[in-house]
Symmetry: C3
Subunit: 160 residues, 3 copies
């Protein structure tokens, strides 16, 4: 693998705006022929968790944390100006008006372009995300060693 | 171009503290002879929008969003401890006391050192930023392909 | 030094979750034989400041700022859902349940694996952090030139 041909992105924040930026870069790179890895960790895991997932096997604290941070691409907050959900609503409308695809569409595009989606095994327990509640698009569950192996051979590595 | 000689920075947050960090790295790298690209997207676009710009051709929602997020280097919030503007005020005073140049001065220094400033075309519509309201220092308006082309040849690529 | 063998991380935010992510990457990389540099700047400096440090030689504004942003690994806020300290408390409990080491333990591990810890000289004044109040684990105090020198030879450079 030519190292100029790989991009690895840590999707940490899970915010609507930051996640959008990561998918624009990921799909742009994949469309131009680069190999792209997205590594979802911490709040980013909530993006690749099924909406309304109820991980029943978890203890009450994990269930509570899982309940407080909503799952799925439609429930992402903004990193600023969230204003109890008014900000994300406005941004989604402005995205539509500006012909920017939604997060859900970008996820589908990333998938169809062969972007590899990895869920961080270490933080899944902390965030109350179980393997069973992940969306089927996720390729694998792995730890930091897997991220480092990809990043070492990538020309572009970003933490978003 | 020797790849060891290029730095590409995505300026996403537009916060006073994060933007400062990006300009310290950009001007430091440029001063040491490296080629530097700064790619302004999302909230970062507000830094390179003229102060008190009133983009009249926009619809009411974009105008409202544009109004709520103030433009220009003097109006940047802090990423933490913003406290309705007290935090940034304190930090600006502490920067002055510590002989750290202001954001406005850093922008001028970056420009004089040949740092390339690019505005992200895709998110300009979302953020209510029009080409006419950008500061004259901006070199060009471009999309993710332009960022990727720069980043692929850069030894250091950061998302800030 | 083979450039595939170095990782440089800017620790900017100082949040519990983001700092954890940076230490997981740092210790993972160091454990696999890579050379790792962590450059602490802005809020990240508070992580490597001694707890309850009272930098007496500072003026009142720096003392106030230093007081408002608590020092040490035990006092880090969360980047989201901080809820006046309930969020970090929950996350620490969930980390323990998930067998994720605490920030304090990770700092010790990083140190024992030879990770280089550098405090950013430029922002120390702004954040009210003096050399005397840094924890002994810190290797050196340096500016952006030192960061750039490391980053230029690193295969992975992250801003966290």
């Amino acid at each position: 693998m030519n190292e100029k041909n790989m991009v690895t992105i840590v999707v940490f924040s899970g915010d609507l705006d930051k996640t959008l930026a990561s998918f624009v870069i990921a799909t742009g790179a994949a469309a131009s022929g680069m190999k792209v890895n997205m590594f979802f960790t911490f709040w980013g895991l909530k993006l690749i968790q099924r909406e309304k997932a109820r991980p029943k096997e978890l203890d009450w604290m994990r269930r509570m944390f899982s309940f407080m941070v909503k799952a799925g691409p439609e429930k992402r907050p903004l990193s600023k100006m969230n204003m109890f959900g008014i900000g994300p609503m406005m941004m989604k409308k402005l995205m539509k008006k500006s012909n920017v695809p939604s997060l859900k569409e970008m996820l589908a595009t990333a998938k169809s372009l062969g972007v590899k989606l990895t869920a961080c095994s270490m933080t899944m327990g902390v965030m109350g995300v179980t393997k069973e509640t992940l969306i089927p698009e996720v390729n694998n569950v792995a730890g930091v060693a897997s991220f480092l192996a990809d990043a070492k051979d990538s020309q572009i590595t970003l933490f978003i």
